[in-house]
């Protein structure tokens, strides 16, 4: 039982991070139909900028806030200088642009920072809390807490504000939204900015447990993409569900089966789910236009 709880907690922690990455994918996908492969770099930059600002002597909370602002500017910049310039290009071309952006950001992090691994002090100390025989790091609770706060804030933004409604309108039909007087290009840009904010917050809160370096983005982007697809792309609740399912399945297969093949088990699960429901767990088929 203690073992089960232990795996469940580590799975939930990883799952929360995957869910946040998946939410970033979902927001951008909804606004412009693009899978943003630079999403993992937002997570990396959030962690790395905080580490280097706090090494420069800034207090941790201030460093974290500045890091989020910086990454939001990067995300908005990718939209303004790259995606928006090519907005009439095909989706695949836009995806290649995000791949270019991810290579660029990884290269920039390598130059601006370094190639070593970094960590941050835990927010609430390093003494594990023991629950039912399982040891939980306080930082894991911080990760879960931040994830819940972000999901609630995002829900409030989308569901309770006029701005959120404008983003949803842009997502469902750009032409109709622009006819209703919504600045759709700004909304797409905002989706990039919000995704960047979510990604960087995730990067900051996981750094004390998972370490960070300039090249962690690729793996996180992969996991986030897989989680978003598992839940059903374009579906915010699906992204959260997909992330949690992916994190738990990895943790349990690493614990009970083989740590070498933990990623493989998660992938087999992903394939099995998509073969059974080709639109993800919560996605719905859309009719094809001729």
């Amino acid at each position: 039982m203690a073992e089960f709880l232990q795996f469940a907690f580590s799975g939930l922690t990883a799952g929360a991070v995957y869910a946040l990455a998946a939410l970033g994918f979902t927001l951008i996908f909804n606004s412009c139909g693009v899978i943003n492969f630079a999403q993992g770099e937002f997570v990396m930059l959030g962690g790395m900028i905080t580490v280097f600002l706090s090494l420069a002597g800034l207090p941790l909370p201030l460093a974290a806030c500045l890091a989020i602002v910086a990454v939001v500017l990067v995300g908005f910049g990718i939209h303004v200088f790259a995606i928006d310039r090519a907005r009439d290009a095909t989706t695949v071309a836009l995806i290649v642009i995000t791949i270019g952006a991810s290579i660029f950001l990884r290269g920039a992090a390598q130059v601006l920072f370094d190639k070593r691994f970094h960590t941050l002090p835990s927010w609430f100390g390093d003494n594990p809390i023991v629950v039912g025989g399982a040891a939980i790091l306080p930082q894991s609770l911080a990760v879960l807490g931040v994830a819940v706060v972000i999901v609630v804030l995002l829900w409030a933004l989308i569901d309770r504000t006029l701005l959120g409604k404008a983003i949803v309108a842009t997502a469902s039909n750009q032409l109709a939204a622009s006819l209703a007087g919504i600045n759709t290009r700004l909304m797409v840009g905002l989706s990039f900015a919000i995704s960047a904010a979510i990604g960087s917050a995730a990067g900051i809160v996981i750094t004390p447990i998972m370490f960070t370096s300039y090249d962690i983005g690729t793996l996180l982007a992969l996991k986030g993409f897989a989680a978003a697809m598992l839940g059903g792309i374009g579906h915010p609740v699906g992204a959260v569900v997909g992330g949690i399912v992916l994190g738990l399945s990895e943790a349990f297969s690493a614990g009970y089966f083989s740590s070498q093949y933990k990623d493989a088990v998660a992938l087999v699960l992903l394939l099995a789910v998509l073969f059974a429901c080709p639109h993800g767990l919560l996605g719905r088929p859309s009719p094809e236009r001729v």
Binding site: F29, I35, F37, A82, R85, A86, D88, A89, T90, V92, A93, L94, I95, V96, I97, I99, G100, A101, S102, I103, F104, L105, R106, G107, A108, Q110, V111, T218, L222, F225, A226, M229, I233, Q260, Y261, D263, A264, L267, V268, L270, L271, L274, F275, P278, H279, G280, E288, R289, V290
Partner: protein, 314 residues
């Protein structure tokens, strides 16, 4: 003159000319090696272009087939004996078989779901190659025996330049003929609209499966050539980044353009080599160039440029 220009095999003429003339400008063996890599990745990108550019099906795991071909010529001769030549064909057949079996459930999915499932299959193979140390040598990879043909050992980069150029031309010949066949037209119909193609009597599932198997075989042969050229192979060849690179080659060169596959491969093979002088700034510049190329040549290099060159009769 116009009939020659309009002939379906015309795009091959400049490539043949370049293949013959280029070695005259090569100051060292290093250039032969880079050019051979261009043709090898051009072949793999061409196979993927058949799938992406003509049938409109994205694969984010295509490097897995590079890996199958590469490890076939590495493991086959060492374990089972025989010439690596046999295993180039065996690898292609095996890749085709894998694509045929896996393609049935995979190709029912569409768009981004297809992308993520192919991505998953590619990653599974890469994980297996990394972990089955006994067979594959694990992350360090294994060495590949030199190819001996008619008593001659092929070891110089120049030998491989001619071989990979020949393979690329052969692949391009097959591709150009396929495009102009009823199957090629059916594939383009599927690209435009699956529903419309099905209504017109195209067996959509069978055609998609056919082109998936073909593109797997292309990638496998390219993987074998890569392994034989290098004399060593690591799981990186089958990794996610390679798959992404192949997709970028296809899109950058031009979807649905046979010559575009070669141009895209040339771009992404040569650029990192020239940027290596920039050391730490290499990746930054590479990412920047990739973004700029896609922003300004959004239909791909070859289709965008050929629009300027083509003179339309009034």
């Amino acid at each position: 003159m116009r009939t020659i220009l309009a002939h379906r095999l015309f795009p091959l003429l400049p490539v043949v000319a370049i293949v013959i003339v280029l070695p005259a400008c090569f100051p060292s063996a290093y250039y032969y090696r880079v050019a051979a890599l261009v043709f090898i990745f051009g072949l793999a990108a061409l196979g993927l272009n058949l799938l992406m550019g003509f049938a409109g099906q994205v694969s984010l795991g295509h490097a897995a087939f590079l890996g199958v071909g590469g490890y076939a010529v590495a493991i086959g001769p060492a374990r089972l004996g025989g010439s690596p030549c046999v295993y180039v064909i065996a690898g292609a057949l095996l890749s085709g078989l894998i694509a045929w079996v896996a393609g049935r459930p995979i190709l029912r999915l569409k768009g981004h779901y297809l992308a993520v499932v192919t991505l998953g299959f590619g990653l599974l193979l890469a994980i297996a190659l990394n972990n089955e140390t006994g067979l594959t040598g694990g992350p360090d990879g294994i060495s590949v025996p030199r190819l001996v043909v008619l008593g001659l050992t092929l070891r110089t980069a120049a030998d491989w330049y001619w071989i990979s150029a020949a393979f690329f031309l052969l692949g391009a010949l097959v591709a150009l003929n396929l495009i102009d066949s009823p199957t090629g037209r059916a594939l383009r119909a599927i690209h435009d609209s699956e529903v419309a193609a099905r209504v017109l009597g195209v067996d959509v599932a069978a055609k998609k499966l056919l082109v998936f198997v073909m593109s797997a075989a292309y990638a496998s042969v390219a993987g074998s050539l890569f392994a034989l050229l290098n004399g060593h192979i690591t799981p990186d060849l089958a990794g996610f980044l390679r798959s992404i690179e192949l997709v970028a080659m296809v899109v950058l060169g031009g979807m649905g353009s046979v010559i575009g596959s070669l141009v895209g491969a040339a771009f992404l093979v040569i650029l990192p080599q020239t940027l290596a002088v920039l050391h730490d700034y290499e990746h930054m510049v590479l990412g920047l160039v990739l973004m700029l190329a896609m922003i300004f040549l959004r239909a791909g290099i070859v289709p965008t440029l050929s629009r300027f060159v083509t003179v339309r009769p009034a």
